[in-house]
Amino acid sequence: METLIIIVAGVLVTSATYLILSQNLIRVILGTGVLTHAVHLLIMAMGGFSGNVVPIIGEKGNTYADALPQALILTSIVINFAVAAFFLVLAYQVYNRMNTDDLSKLRRYYHE
């Protein structure tokens, strides 16, 4: 199971890198979103993945999953939600002010 998750995370990182390196504002933002999700999967895999046990110590059960990675992922999701919201608003503002969503065209404004 860990191997599968790591492979998925790798694929996500690959596509995120492709998106971040593109010219389009929205694609860059989507790329950062995909990248953070890849990282969340990685955290889950690093926490150990026993498959079918719950992260609660029951009265009878003597195996339980590590609950900490999930707490970390939850915190990180909340933070990235806020960052992504801000980032999208910024992209909208950039588009409104400069009528372009192409990063290479934005450059010109700086050199004026």
Binding site: I20, L25, V28, T32, L35, T36, A38, V39, H40, L42, I43, A45, M46, G47, G48, L68, P69, L72, T75, S76, I79, A82, V83, F86, F87, L90, A91, Q93, V94, R97, M98, L103, L106, R107, Y109, Y110
Partner: protein
């Protein structure tokens, strides 16, 4: 007593949240921000006093004991930085009150500053790596808002770059945290340090440490500083001063913490790489500071030079150099804020950022000119101003470690700082006066007072360095002996 430590982060946070709900009372915004930062400075001084007398202060939230719960740890190093942060940001707020403009104030400028300070203080105080990530994000989100506040075209363009690079580096930070958790099964820094010491720093751990190095280098502008000059030169002067004084310092703090507490076993690999990176940063920053003729860019490149200079101490890793680095860090926070404020005032009166367009300001604004001159001397390290002692101690430490290349580069960078700033001074303040008396924009006293306070502070640190010594020594000793930190946190 211990719970006071939490207040250092909570006070700005709560005041900031409260202010969000009363957007129309700008007067309350202004003064409550200023006063709460001053109160915070007082509190941190009190905590600092306590730490020097009774050792490290720790707080375990919700009484979950150290390796399991989240803890705040205040040692002399972190609380000294918290104290300086609060003083410097209070003075920057004082400057902002007069210069930032009502429209920006109404867009929640003061709450954002308070959130930023809360994030910075939290980053200095936290004893848990994941919590460090969270406080970093608090700080960064506030800084995203501050850098775009006002929304000029140049700001929007530069801030997109700034945010994109920070989001990517935050993801890398999480990757590093995930690997560390997978390898050692804990994220409490004291606990991590203990486990690394018992198992030894395996090659895998060294690789993870290099990942941390990349992340914190991006945040502090060590080698990976290409985003810094553009984004620090676009926002309004008060914001630029807060950024220049605080943000890179948090990255530097994180580097010092991780590479003295956690990954100090393989110094021939990690600290050698830090040394090489610091050397390249010094060279690159120097080239930038000389090459440009835009005042704000020159000033931003000076931030980069000082980052390289401070990290030379981490590369050589002996107690004298670390002491020097701690003093220099405090000095640099004060003087960089001062430099950005003065540059902001100059651009305000001359209405231009280019060196060629400004000349002869000394006739119109003598006080501004003299303050700029003192700043230049202090940054270069002329005694008795505050830059001198840090440079001397750091220099002695580097000589003790026999790294003469780093010594040469760090001392030569001092000349570059002198040259680049004197170039601003000579071309802007000397020469023919181009502003006639009718055109002269009056520089209000209230706009000069914040800079004047900072000038007094740099002179004061210079003369009063004797009084600071016990705190500095305590800070350096804790940094060099991780056992002190571990024992305090895990309460052995």
């Amino acid at each position: 007593m211990n719970n006071l430590l939490v207040l250092l982060m909570v006070v700005p946070l709560l005041v900031g949240i409260f202010l969000v709900f009363i957007p129309n009372y700008i007067h309350i915004h202004r003064w409550s921000t200023f006063v709460s930062l001053l109160i915070n400075a007082g509190l941190s001084f009190w905590v600092l006093q306590h730490i020097v007398n009774n050792g490290i202060v720790t707080v375990d939230f919700g009484n979950w004991e150290a390796p399991f719960g989240i803890s705040f740890v205040g040692d002399s190093f972190s609380v000294l930085l918290v104290l300086t942060t609060n003083i410097v940001s209070a003075i920057c707020v004082l400057y902002a009150i007069k210069t930032i403009g009502l429209s920006r104030e109404k867009m929640y400028f003061y709450p954002f500053v308070l959130f930023l300070v809360a994030g910075v203080n939290g980053s200095f105080l936290t004893g848990d790596l994941f919590n460090l990530f969270v406080t970093f994000e608090v700080m960064l989100l506030a800084s995203y808002a501050l850098i775009t506040l006002g929304g000029t075209k140049k700001q929007l363009q530069e801030s997109f770059k700034y945010i994109a690079i920070n989001v990517v580096s935050s993801s890398l930070f999480l990757v590093a945290i995930a690997y560390l958790y997978g390898l050692l099964g804990t994220l409490n820094m004291a606990h991590l340090s203990e486990r690394i010491a018992t198992t030894g720093q395996t090659p895998l751990l060294t690789v993870v440490s290099l990942l941390f190095l990349i992340v914190f280098s991006l945040k502090s502008g060590l080698l990976l500083y290409q985003w810094l000059p553009g984004s620090y030169s676009t926002p309004s002067p008060a914001v630029a001063a807060i950024f220049g004084a605080l943000l890179t310092k948090v990255g530097i703090y994180a580097l010092f913490r991780t590479f003295t507490l956690l990954f100090y076993h393989e110094q021939q690999i990690t600290h050698l790489i830090i040394g090489i990176m610091a050397a390249i940063t010094l060279i690159g920053g120097s080239i930038g500071a000389i090459a440009y003729s835009n005042i704000r860019l020159i000033v931003s490149y000076n931030v980069i030079i000082s980052v390289g200079f401070i990290l030379v101490a981490l590369a050589v890793m002996n107690i004298t150099a670390i002491e020097g680095a701690v003093i220099y860090l405090i000095h640099d926070m004060v003087v960089k804020a001062l430099l950005f404020l003065l540059a902001g005032s100059m651009i305000y009166v001359a209405k231009s950022e280019r060196l060629g367009d400004i000349s002869g300001l000394i006739r119109n604004y003598p006080v501004l000119g003299w303050m700029f001159f003192i700043t230049v001397l202090s940054l270069t390290g002329i005694p008795p101003l505050s830059g001198f002692f840090g440079k001397v101690l750091l220099g002695i430490g580097v000589i003790e470690a026999k790294s003469y290349i780093l010594l040469a580069l760090s001392m030569l960078s001092g000349f570059v700082v002198l040259y680049s700033l004197l170039r601003i001074f000579m071309s802007c303040f000397w020469g023919e006066t181009i502003i006639s008396e009718e055109e002269e924009i009056p520089l209000k006293k209230s706009q000069l007072i914040p800079s004047a306070i900072l000038v007094l502070l740099t002179i004061g640190i210079g003369f009063g360095v004797e009084g600071l010594t016990p705190y500095i020594q305590d800070a350096a000793e804790t940094l060099m002996n991780p056992e002190i930190y571990i024992d305090a946190v895990l309460e052995k």
